[in-house]
C-alpha cells in the first residue's frame, strides 16, 4: 500500500540463487513411538526411499524430533554432504520449525527442508497397514521431488507496532489492558456498551469469597479510565481490520452518545428528569427500568450517560428536550454524529465474552410463562443492592418474600438438546444463590436441583460444604418440568418442581414459590461475524478457537490476534483474569522483540510476463498488489503479502509465482506422489 510498509522488511523473498550442485537428499522416517510405526511399515518405507533418485541416505528412527533424532540429521548433513532434508513424520504445524532449526544449525538453509505428514494424513486415518505404507511412500517421493527443486530463502523481518487493541471491556479485557498499560505500552480499549465492566458489573457477590463484585471491579475500571496509557472507547465497535501481525489498521466507529463529553459532568440530572421509562433489557436483563437517557449503573465508567434515540421522545416525535433544558452545562447535543476513528495497531486481544442461554428455549421450565420463574442473571440483579429491588429477594409482585426457593442447575448446559458442554460457573453461582437466599430471607427453604456439583477450584468445595451446613437441600436429578398444574390441595397456588431424585430413585414433586434457572453460557450471537472480521476460527458452538487447547490457550491461528476470557469458552472470573493477563504477557513479549521473523513465503510478479490485466489486484485479501499505470504491470508489496497464493492461482499469464510454492516445485511434488500411477499392476486407461 505505502512505501513505508515496504521499508519494514529486510531480506528478499527469493533468497540467493545457489544450491546448483547435485542434489543430495536425506530421508528420515519417524516411528513417532507407536503412532506411525503401528500402521506404517516405517523400515520398509526408509529402505525403499534409499533406492530412489537423488536420495543419498534414508533412515527410520523412533522419535525424529528428539535431540538424538535431530543430531542424526545434523551429522548426516555434515558428514554425508546432504543439501536437502525430508522428514516423514507428523503435521508441519507440529515440527516443521524444529527441523528447519536443525538444518540451520548444521549450516543448511532451512527452506531446503521438506516435511511429509504420514501421521495425521496416514497412520491416524486408517488401520490398513498396506495402504498406509503405500501412501507414506507416495508422500515421501513427492517430498523428495519437491525438495530437489527448493531454493534457499531468507526470512523477512517486520517491525511490531507497540500499540495494542483490546476488544471488550469486561473483566478479561480490562485485566489485559491494565497489564499492558502498566508495562508501558499503549492500549486502545474498545467496548460496545456505554460502560466498561461487562457481566461482572451486574453481579452482587462473587463466589467463593463473597466479595462484593463492585468493590473489586470498580477500582480496576477507574484505573483503566485514568491510565495515561489507555485510550478508552466505549459505545464503540470495530468496523474493519486490515494488515497483519505488528501492523494492523483498525477502523472503529464511536457511536453518538448525544452528550458532549467535554462538557458533561456526569451529574445525572438529565437521567432524573427524563420522562421516558422503559424496561432495561440489557443491563437489568428485563427486571428493571431505565430512562431514554441513561447510565447502566451508578459507578459506570465513563460517567457520561447516553441517549437511546429509539426511545427518546425528541428523536421520535421532535419535542420534549427535557434533558437539554435541565442540563447545567449544556452538554446535551442532539446533533452529534457517529465518529470514525482509524488506529494503527500491532496486536489485538479479543475479550468479547459470552451471552446467557435464553431460558425461554426450554418452555417446560416455565420462564416467561410462570411469573415467579427467574433466570440466574435476573436473580443477580435482584440481590444487587443497586438493582431493581435494592437487594430484597421478592417474588414478581415486588413485595412478597419467597418461603421456598428452587434453584435448577444446568439449564441449557450438559444437555445434548441445547449445549452439550458444562458452563463451569453455574454450580458455584447456584450455591452462592442458596447462601444469599438464606442470608436475605432467613426463614426460607432452598432446594438445589443438580446433576453433579462441579466445585473444582480453590476454596470451592469448602464453600459447597458451607452452603450445605447452612441448610440448603441438595437434590440430585435433572428437573423434568416446573408447573403450576396442581394435583392436590398441597400444591395449589405453588410452582411444582417435578424431578427424579436419583439418590433415592423416586419421582418427587416439590412445591416452591420461586424458581431460579441457572441458565448457562453460550457464545455471542454475532461471534461468527466477529471471528470473520478479525480472521480467526470458531468451533461449532461459536467459541473462538485457540491455537492449542492446552499449551497455547490465548493465541489464535492468526498471528497477532489473541483471545481472553469467556469468548474462548465458559469461564468464571478467576480464569478470565488469568487469561487476560496471559494474553497481555504474550503481547508484551512480542512488543519487546520489536521485530518479528516471518516466513518468506511471498508472491512476486514477473514484470515481463505480466499483461496488466489486473485480475490479481482485487483478488488479494490483503490489498498487497499495486498497479503501475505507467508501466502497465502489477506488483506485489512484499511486506503486505501473506503468501496465501490466491493471485498465483488466478494469474492467466502465469506471471505470479509464490516463493517456496513455485509451479515447478508443486508439479514435481504431484509427479512424485503419483510415482506408482504407471506401474504395471495399475490399470491405465488410454484414450481411445
Amino acid at each position: 500500500m505505502s512505501p513505508e510498509h515496504a521499508d519494514r522488511t529486510r531480506g528478499s523473498p527469493h533468497g540467493a540463487p545457489g544450491a546448483e550442485q547435485e542434489p543430495r537428499v536425506g530421508v528420515y522416517v519417524c516411528h513417532c513411538g507407536h503412532n506411525i510405526a503401528n500402521t506404517v511399515a516405517v523400515d520398509e518405507v526408509a529402505e525403499w526411499a534409499g533406492g530412489q533418485a537423488h536420495v543419498t541416505v534414508a533412515r527410520d528412527y523412533k522419535f525424529m524430533c528428539s535431540s538424538l533424532g535431530q543430531e542424526l540429521i545434523e551429522q548426516d548433513i555434515k558428514e554425508r554432504g546432504l543439501n536437502r532434508v525430508v522428514v516423514a513424520a507428523c503435521s508441519p504445524h507440529m515440527h516443521e520449525k524444529t527441523f528447519r532449526n536443525t538444518c540451520q544449525r548444521a549450516g543448511l538453509n532451512p527452506f531446503l527442508f521438506e516435511m511429509a505428514n504420514i501421521r495425521e494424513l496416514g497412520s491416524w486415518a486408517t488401520d490398513d497397514r498396506e495402504a498406509a505404507t503405500q501412501k507414506a511412500k507416495a508422500q515421501v517421493k513427492g517430498a523428495v521431488e519437491r525438495a530437489v527443486l527448493q531454493r534457499p530463502l531468507d526470512p523477512l523481518y517486520v517491525d511490531i507496532n507497540p500499540n495494542t487493541l483490546v476488544v471488550g471491556g469486561g473483566i478479561a479485557g480490562l485485566t489485559a489492558a491494565l497489564e499492558l498499560a502498566n508495562a508501558g505500552y499503549h492500549v486502545y480499549l474498545v467496548e460496545r456498551d456505554s460502560s466498561i465492566g461487562g457481566h461482572m458489573a451486574k453481579l452482587d457477590k462473587t463466589f467463593p469469597t463473597l466479595d462484593c463484585a463492585a468493590c473489586i471491579l470498580t477500582p480496576k475500571m477507574v484505573d483503566a479510565e485514568n491510565h495515561p496509557n489507555i485510550t478508552l472507547m466505549t459505545w464503540s465497535e470495530v468496523l474493519s481490520v486490515h494488515g497483519y501481525v505488528g501492523n494492523f489498521s483498525v477502523r472503529v466507529r464511536k457511536r453518538a452518545r448525544f452528550i458532549n463529553e467535554e462538557l458533561c459532568t456526569g451529574c445525572g440530572t438529565c437521567v432524573e428528569k427524563c420522562p421516558v421509562r422503559i424496561i432495561d433489557q440489557n443491563f437489568e436483563v428485563g427486571l428493571g427500568y431505565r430512562k431514554a437517557v441513561y447510565r447502566n449503573f451508578p459507578q459506570a465508567i465513563p460517567k457520561y450517560p447516553v441517549i437511546d434515540p429509539d426511545n427518546c421522545t425528541f428523536f421520535q416525535r421532535g419535542k420534549c428536550r427535557a434533558c437539554e433544558i435541565v442540563c447545567p452545562t449544556d452538554a446535551i447535543d442532539f446533533k452529534q454524529k457517529d465518529e470514525i476513528v482509524d488506529l494503527e495497531i500491532g496486536n489485538i486481544i479479543l475479550a468479547t465474552g459470552y451471552e446467557q442461554f435464553d431460558a425461554r428455549t426450554i418452555p417446560q421450565y416455565g420462564y416467561g410463562r410462570l411469573a415467579n420463574v427467574f433466570t440466574s442473571m435476573e436473580f443477580e440483579r435482584m440481590v444487587n443492592a443497586a438493582g431493581p429491588t435494592a437487594g430484597r429477594v421478592v417474588l414478581r409482585d415486588g413485595v412478597t418474600a419467597p418461603k421456598r426457593v428452587g434453584i435448577i442447575h444446568c439449564v441449557g448446559s450438559r444437555d445434548k438438546k441445547y449445549h452439550e458442554y458444562c458452563s463451569r460457573a453455574c454450580c458455584m453461582a447456584a450455591l452462592k444463590f442458596a447462601h444469599l437466599v438464606h442470608e436475605r430471607v432467613p426463614e426460607a427453604e432452598v432446594f438445589n436441583f443438580y446433576i453433579d456439583i462441579r466445585a473444582a477450584g480453590k476454596h470451592y468445595e469448602e464453600f459447597y460444604h458451607r452452603v450445605l451446613s447452612e441448610g440448603a437441600h441438595l437434590i440430585r436429578g435433572r428437573v423434568a418440568e416446573v408447573t403450576d398444574a396442581a394435583r392436590g390441595p398441597g400444591e395449589e397456588g405453588q410452582l411444582i418442581i417435578q424431578v427424579e431424585d436419583t439418590l433415592i430413585g423416586k419421582q418427587r414433586r416439590i412445591p416452591v414459590d420461586m424458581v431460579i434457572l441457572m441458565a448457562g453460557m453460550e457464545a455471542r450471537k454475532d461471534a461468527r461475524q466477529v471471528a470473520n472480521l478479525f480472521g480467526l476460527g470458531c468451533d461449532f458452538e461459536g467459541w473462538f478457537t485457540e491455537r492449542h487447547a492446552k499449551l497455547d490457550p490465548v493465541v489464535t491461528m492468526t498471528e497477532g490476534i489473541l483471545i481472553a476470557g469467556a469468548c474462548q469458552g465458559p469461564k468464571a472470573i478467576p480464569e478470565s483474569v488469568a487469561q487476560g493477563s496471559a494474553a497481555a504477557a504474550r503481547v508484551a513479549g512480542m512488543i519487546g522483540q520489536r521485530t518479528m521473523k516471518m516466513e518468506p513465503v511471498r508472491a512476486s510478479i514477473d514484470a515481463d510476463s505480466c499483461s496488466g490485466c489486473r485480475i490479481c489486484n482485487n483478488l488479494c485479501p490483503y490489498h498487497a498488489i499495486v498497479y503501475h499505470e505507467d508501466r502497465r504491470v502489477s506488483e506485489v508489496l512484499t511486506a503486505l503479502c501473506q503468501g496465501c497464493g490466491a493471485c498465483v492461482a488466478a494469474c492467466p499469464s502465469a506471471a505470479i509465482s509464490g516463493a517456496h510454492f513455485t509451479r515447478d516445485q508443486v508439479m514435481a511434488q504431484i509427479e512424485g506422489i503419483l510415482w506408482d500411477a504407471r506401474q504395471p499392476e495399475v490399470l491405465w486407461l488410454e484414450p481411445a
Binding site: I279, T375, R396
Partner: protein, 331 residues
C-alpha cells in the same frame, strides 16, 4: 397437494367426527387425501407386545399398499402417507424405521408380504401426522386466509398427548417437551389459547381397560388442569385421547366427586367451525360431553363487536416486569 391417507379404525367408529371434519376442511383447503385401499389395523398399542414380527408385517402391509397406490397415481415425490391418529402415525413410522435400520428384518417382513403379492421398500414413504401436514405444508397463512368466523373468546386447552412428538423417529415436527404448533393453529383460528402445562401428559391410554383407578387419576389431572385455567374446551388430535377424556369424564366425576363438563373436540372440528361450516358438518353432537353450551360462546352467530382493548392497568411501582416473550406467543 395430494397425500396418501390412512384413517385407522378409530376414524371409522368412535372418532368418525374427526374423519368427517377433516374431509370437510380438506376440501376447503384444496388438499386431497386419497385413502389407502384395503388397509388393515396398524397393530394399535398391544400387538407389538404379543408378537413383534407379526406386528411389523401387519403395519408393513399398509405401507406396501400405500406405496403401490402412490406409485400408480404418480403421487408426490417422495410419496407421503398421512395418519390422523397418533398411535397409527407412531406405529407406521416406527416400523418403517425399523425396516430401514435392519435389512434382515426387512427381508423377513417382505417374505411375509410376498404371500399377498406385496413388497415394501423401507424408507420409500414419508409418514406424517395430520397436524404436521396442516401446520407445515398447508401453513398458518393459508389457514388464516380461510377463517371467516373466528373463534373469538373461546378459551382452548391444546392437548397433544404423548405420541406425536415422542419418540419422534423421523418426522419430529415440534418440541418433544413443550410443543406449540397446535397452540399457534388455534390462535390463527381466533381462539384464546390457555397455558396447558399437561399438554403432553398421558391420557391413560388403554389403562382404562387394565387399571381403571390409574387411568381415572391421569384423566382427572388433565381435566383439573384445563378447569384451573378456565378452558372452555380441550382440543385434541388423537382419537384415544379424545375418547378417554370424553367418555370417562363422568366416571372421573363419580370417582372423585367432581363436576367437570369440559367438551373434548378434534382440532379439525374447530378449523371447520372457523371456516364457517355448520356444527353438523364437522360432526359436533357425537361427543359424550355436549359441546354446544361451550360453542354457544361463538355460535351466537352475530358476532358481538370485539370489546375495545382495555388500557393495561398501570403496574404498581413495586412490581417487577415480566420477561418479554416473542410476540406471537402473547395471547
Amino acid at each position: 397437494m395430494r397425500y396418501g391417507y390412512y384413517p385407522g379404525c378409530s376414524l371409522e367408529r368412535n372418532a368418525s367426527a374427526y374423519h368427517t371434519s377433516l374431509m370437510a376442511v380438506a376440501e376447503r383447503l384444496g388438499v386431497e387425501f386419497a385413502e389407502v385401499d384395503d388397509w388393515n389395523c396398524c397393530g394399535a398399542t398391544e400387538f407389538i407386545a404379543v408378537n413383534r414380527l407379526r406386528a411389523y408385517a401387519l403395519a408393513s402391509r399398509n405401507l406396501a399398499l400405500a406405496a403401490d397406490q402412490a406409485r400408480s397415481t404418480n403421487g408426490a415425490d417422495p410419496a407421503q402417507l398421512v395418519a390422523p391418529c397418533s398411535a397409527c402415525f407412531l406405529n407406521l413410522s416406527k416400523v418403517d424405521r425399523y425396516l430401514e435400520d435392519s435389512p434382515a428384518l426387512a427381508a423377513d417382513v417382505n417374505a411375509a408380504l410376498a404371500a399377498g403379492g406385496l413388497h415394501y421398500e423401507a424408507g420409500s414413504l414419508r409418514i406424517r401426522h395430520l397436524l404436521d401436514v396442516i401446520v407445515n405444508d398447508v401453513g398458518y397463512e393459508q389457514i388464516a386466509a380461510r377463517v371467516n368466523s373466528p373463534l373469538r373468546g373461546m378459551r382452548i386447552a391444546p392437548y397433544y398427548g404423548c405420541l406425536i412428538v415422542r419418540p419422534g423417529f423421523r418426522e419430529r415436527f415440534d418440541d418433544p417437551e413443550y410443543p406449540t404448533s397446535l397452540d399457534k393453529l388455534m390462535r390463527v383460528l381466533g381462539a384464546q389459547v390457555v397455558d396447558f402445562p399437561l399438554k403432553t401428559h398421558c391420557c391413560g391410554g388403554h389403562m382404562t381397560q387394565i387399571s381403571r383407578d390409574v387411568a381415572l387419576e391421569l384423566i382427572r389431572r388433565l381435566l383439573k388442569n384445563a378447569a384451573d385455567y378456565q378452558a372452555d374446551m380441550i382440543v385434541t388430535l388423537c382419537p384415544m385421547c379424545q375418547l378417554n377424556l370424553d367418555a370417562f369424564q363422568e366416571s372421573v366425576n363419580e370417582q372423585f366427586g367432581t363436576n367437570y363438563r369440559i367438551p373434548i373436540l378434534f382440532f379439525t372440528q374447530l378449523m371447520g367451525l372457523a371456516f364457517g361450516l355448520s356444527p353438523a358438518a364437522v360432526g359436533i353432537g357425537k361427543e359424550f360431553i355436549d359441546a354446544r353450551p361451550a360453542l354457544a360462546k361463538i355460535g351466537a352467530a352475530a358476532e358481538p363487536a370485539a370489546p375495545a382493548p382495555k388500557r393495561k392497568p398501570r403496574r404498581s411501582d413495586q412490581g417487577l416486569p415480566l420477561p418479554q416473550m416473542p410476540e406471537e406467543e402473547q395471547p
